[in-house]
């Protein structure tokens, strides 16, 4: 894994013109991925970026690594085959909310439960960008788009609850506009052995501008979003004046200044606690109404546990079968158990 000189972020960029719309959130994600790969001192020859189809899925063309732009929704299966062929590769998979949760929802489900060692980056812009602005499975209900002039009817999917349901071993959320946080989450994704499911809120400034502004903009962010830190209490709000405590098995938002609770009373974040993670992924309230029982949207690593990876187990089975084999070469196999001779 030795490279002559230390690579910089720009060494991970290709000579191809990046064709996203000016101002698209994808640019920021591309830049952070390139710089994280440089920080991690990854060897370009051992990295493969695989995507499906969508604006986001153009990503591999811009990465000076190995890459494959596959077909719509199927990247999880492609990377599964690739990791089975060569478990040593560092595989990153890029998908969109349509690619990963609509046409490819089935495959995403299965890669998560198999726990193939791949970093999944799900660019969620709550819209179909490449096909010019139809609603997606993550779009809010009643969304007016080209294909839904009277408003969309489908209830939106909650990507991280989906991942939880699929028994993912790593579940995290970040956003294009918080560069520091995004980089941290990319580092965590790569560090995790198994399928890392990182949902990234990404602004499509052409077809769904501002979809996540309430989480990403300074003015509203403190009230709408909560940033999780392992071992730390769940606090949010301006000056961390609010927190979340557990009242039995029910989460409760408390005002640390008014309600008579201190930080010691709050829910301590534990990434390995499946019950707490189940609750956190369900913090999915509409940020346009932060009054009343609103729970802030969690960002950070919600859940991270170890479980053996599919490809490692498969290779172990092959190794064991070889070690225990009673066959003495191909001739034995071809002959089988009962033969006869013709003279």
């Amino acid at each position: 894994m030795t490279t002559e000189h230390k690579l910089k972020a720009k060494d991970f960029a290709t000579d191809q013109d990046v064709r996203w719309c000016p101002g698209c959130g994808d640019y920021s994600i591309l830049k952070q991925v390139q710089s994280v790969m440089a920080e991690l001192e990854l060897n370009r020859d051992e990295v493969v970026v695989v995507s499906g189809i969508g604006c986001s899925s153009r990503f591999p063309y811009y990465m000076n690594t190995y890459g494959m732009h596959s077909i719509h929704g199927r990247a999880p299966a492609v990377v599964t085959g690739l990791k089975i062929a060569n478990p040593d590769l560092h595989v990153w998979m890029v998908t969109g909310d349509g690619d990963g949760l609509s046409i490819g929802g089935n495959h995403l489900l299965h890669i998560l439960r198999r726990n193939v060692d791949v970093n999944v980056l799900l660019f969620n812009n709550e819209i179909y960008g490449l096909t010019k602005g139809q609603y997606s499975p993550t779009s809010e209900q009643n969304k007016k788009t080209k294909s839904t002039p009277f408003g969309s009817l489908d209830y939106p999917i909650n990507p991280l609850a989906f991942a939880m349901g699929a028994s993912a071993t790593f579940i995290a959320r970040s956003m294009d506009r918080d560069v520091k946080h995004l980089k941290k989450m990319l580092h965590r994704s790569e560090a995790h052995k198994g399928t890392s499911m990182l949902e990234i809120y990404q602004n499509c400034n052409i077809f769904n501008d501002g979809a996540f502004f309430s989480f990403t903009e300074k003015s509203s962010k403190p009230e709408t979003a909560i940033f999780l830190e392992q071992g730390e209490p769940l606090v949010f709000g301006v000056d961390h004046s609010k927190g979340i405590r557990l009242d039995g098995y029910k989460p409760q938002v408390v005002d640390l200044e008014k309600d008579g609770f201190s930080k010691e009373d709050l829910w301590i974040h534990d990434e390995t606690d499946i019950y707490k993670a189940q609750m956190l992924v369900r913090f999915f309230d509409d940020p346009s109404n932060v009054e009343g029982t609103y729970f802030p949207r969690p960002f950070g690593v919600i859940y991270a546990v170890d479980r053996p990876c599919y490809e490692d187990q498969l290779h172990a089975q092959v190794a064991e079968a070889k070690a225990k084999s009673k066959m003495n070469g191909l001739d034995d196999l071809l002959r089988g158990t009962s033969t006869w001779e013709v003279e």
Binding site: Q16, Y66, H69, S70, A85, M327, L333, V342
Partner: protein, 618 residues
């Protein structure tokens, strides 16, 4: 003791019973024993799609036909010499196939009021009591009663005991064909090693059936079919799907690549997944995917990573894989797609055979997407064809589609086992690592065969991007240039066409070039064409047989061959598909013969048709 042993040249036996009666198991055991005796043989298992089809009804009848002989055997046979009927429905469904003077072995206990009613015999009619069977030699055996009697000491439940009655018939038949029980005893001892009570019951009933023949039928003749004269070598009996799986493993061993097999279960392809998953010790990785699309795309991933990557399915699954195959074609990576055809369209006839996916294989993808197609013609041919498909895929960096069908998949035949060291290796060369000052790697640069290099992720200095978007020649960069697109379409097609330069010339299986009639086939019609052509040649007709293994591209000399005959008949188990390709390519008036009933074309059907064709003056 029996009266005498009569020598027979060939015999066809049909085992028929309820799908729960163990007909396939019994048929396979008898076949294995027949093979070990050194006979040539062909089999035809025919069973309902439902695992537990309604008991006692015509719909629930499961059959297994075996044709064996001391002469060359081409097909499982049209008419049968011996019919084993485990119940009334089995007799009713098969009696018309029994030769005059044939033998019927019936389970008397399967002809009670209920069974007769379920088989829809009229009230009061019992075919084994009236004169229905007058023309035949009939053995009425009270199988259920005798089996229970034989097992009265066994701790098994009544249901389990009744399930042993197939062993009784098997024993009886083994006696009748002067076989010894050794190979079957060895087999069932292995199979039921963990279940001593079931093993004991099976052995007891098998022996009881054998002795029943010896003791009760004292004045009957037994038969013997002598060894067939096959080319010298070591043989085993093998089914098509098994041979195909072995061909894939052999290709892995001979190319030095690990085998990856991605598949989603579907009849009649599942057995390939089952076989391969047992042979991990031969560097085989099997992946049961969540659907056929995932199976195909995971296979693409594995091929990209450097495995000998194969995906297998049947018709409906091939329809799902279409987009992925287009991607593999566009990426130009090696991959094999198996389609074990069954009756279509849609779910169609899952357990029956058909050849109706040929045009889907040729054209079933979006855009201009020609790909190599190769087809297996017999169960044993499946081995070679599987190997050949892998060779073409890796040597020409292309997806290859292999067509087989249910009849080949489940049919069995004696196979002369090849010696591993006599099989030609498959040369695999990956793109070489590069240093920083080497010229840039061009992923879509081509050699004289128009083949690009297989460049594995992880190789130093070759980082590059591939994808489904049209790519610029040589660099592989995305390109929307109009002229480049046309150039790339043509060059991908030309690459596939060039394969014709490295495949064997089309040969005639029988007969001479330039005659009155050519029967041109592909796939599982091989046996019936052989049998008709050999018979007609002996009758002095100027007829020949050619069988196409390489369907796309066709062998270069096929043109000359088809144009050398006054008439070309193309029999197919579909509504006329190869015939379209031949007419289109060679502009000849090929004559289709089609049967689309889920069963193979029979000897007499084809022969009658060919005779009619010969009567028309040309």
């Amino acid at each position: 003791m029996s009266d005498s042993i009569q020598i027979k040249e060939e015999v066809t036996i049909k085992f028929a019973g309820d799908s729960g009666d163990g007909m396939q198991f019994m048929g396979n055991l008898f076949t294995e024993n027949t093979a070990l005796k050194g006979n040539d043989l062909a089999t035809f298992p025919d069973y309902p799609a439902e695992i537990r089809a309604p008991i006692g009804t015509m719909a629930g009848v499961s059959g297994f036909q075996l044709h064996f002989g001391s002469k060359q055997i081409f097909t499982p046979g049209d008419q049968v010499d011996v019919l084993v009927a485990m119940n009334a429905a089995a007799l009713k469904a098969n009696l018309t196939r029994l030769k005059k003077t044939g033998t019927v072995i019936v389970n008397e206990d399967g002809f009670d009021g209920k069974n007769l009613r379920l088989a829809k015999y009229e009230k009061g009619v019992n075919p084994i009591e009236d004169d229905t069977l007058n023309d035949y030699e009939v053995f009425k055996i009270q199988l259920t009663k005798l089996t229970r009697e034989c097992l009265k000491e066994s701790p098994l439940s009544m249901k389990e005991k009744d399930r042993c009655k197939n062993m009784f018939v098997l024993g009886f038949l083994l006696w009748r064909y002067t076989r010894n029980l050794d190979s079957i005893l060895t087999f069932i001892k292995n199979k039921f090693a963990q279940k001593p009570e079931i093993l004991a019951a099976n052995i007891a009933t098998l022996k009881a059936g054998y002795h029943y023949g010896e003791t009760t039928e004292t004045f009957t003749t037994t038969y013997e079919v002598k060894k067939a004269t096959l080319p010298p070598g070591t043989y085993r009996n093998i089914m098509g799907n098994h041979a195909l799986a072995l061909g894939l493993i052999t290709a892995g061993q001979k190319s030095g690549r690990p085998v990856f097999y991605g598949s989603y279960p579907i009849t009649p392809a599942s057995d390939i997944l089952h076989h391969l998953s047992r042979h991990k010790d031969f560097n085989v990785k099997t992946f049961q995917a969540e659907d056929e699309i995932a199976a195909a795309t995971a296979t693409i991933g594995a091929a990209y990573g450097g495995d000998l990557a194969i995906t297998g399915t049947s018709g409906p699954g091939l329809a799902l894989k279409g987009e992925a195959i287009g991607l593999a074609m566009m990426l130009e990576i090696p991959m094999v797609i198996l389609n074990i055809q069954r009756g279509g369209p849609s779910t169609g006839l899952p357990t029956k055979t058909e050849q109706a996916d040929l045009l889907m294989a040729m054209y079933g993808r979006n855009g201009e997407c020609p790909m190599p197609i190769i087809s297996a013609s017999t169960p044993t041919d499946a081995f070679e064809v599987a190997f050949e498909a892998c060779r073409i895929a890796m040597e020409h960096m292309t997806p290859v589609l292999l067509l087989s069908d249910g009849y080949i998949a489940n049919g069995a035949a004696p196979w002369m086992i090849p010696k591993a060291d006599e099989i030609e290796p498959i040369e695999v060369k990956f793109a070489e690592p590069r240093e920083e000052d080497d010229p840039a790697f061009l992923p879509y640069e081509r050699n004289e065969k128009l083949v690009r290099q297989w460049a594995l992720p992880g190789t130093k200095g070759l980082a590059h991007r591939i994808g489904g978007l049209e790519k610029e020649a040589n660099t592989g960069n995305v390109s929307y240039d109009p002229a480049n697109h046309e150039y790339m379409i043509k060059i991908r097609a030309a690459k596939v066409d060039k394969i014709a330069e490295s495949i064997p010339a089309q040969k005639l299986e029988m007969g001479e070039e330039n005659g009155d009639l050519l029967i041109l086939g592909w796939g599982s019609t091989y046996g019936v064409i052989q049998s008709v052509v050999s018979e007609m040649m002996s009758e002095g007709v100027s007829v020949a047989h050619a069988h196409i293994r390489y369907i796309h591209p066709f062998p270069k000399n096929l043109d000359n061959i088809v144009k050398g005959f006054k008439r070309v008949v193309i029999p197919e188990i579909n509504n006329g598909q190869l015939v379209k390709l031949i007419r289109e390519k060679y502009l000849i008036e090929a004559i289709p013969y089609n049967k689309i009933q889920g069963v193979p074309i029979s000897h007499s059907e084809l022969k009658n048709f060919v005779k009619q064709v010969m009567e028309v003056k040309v």
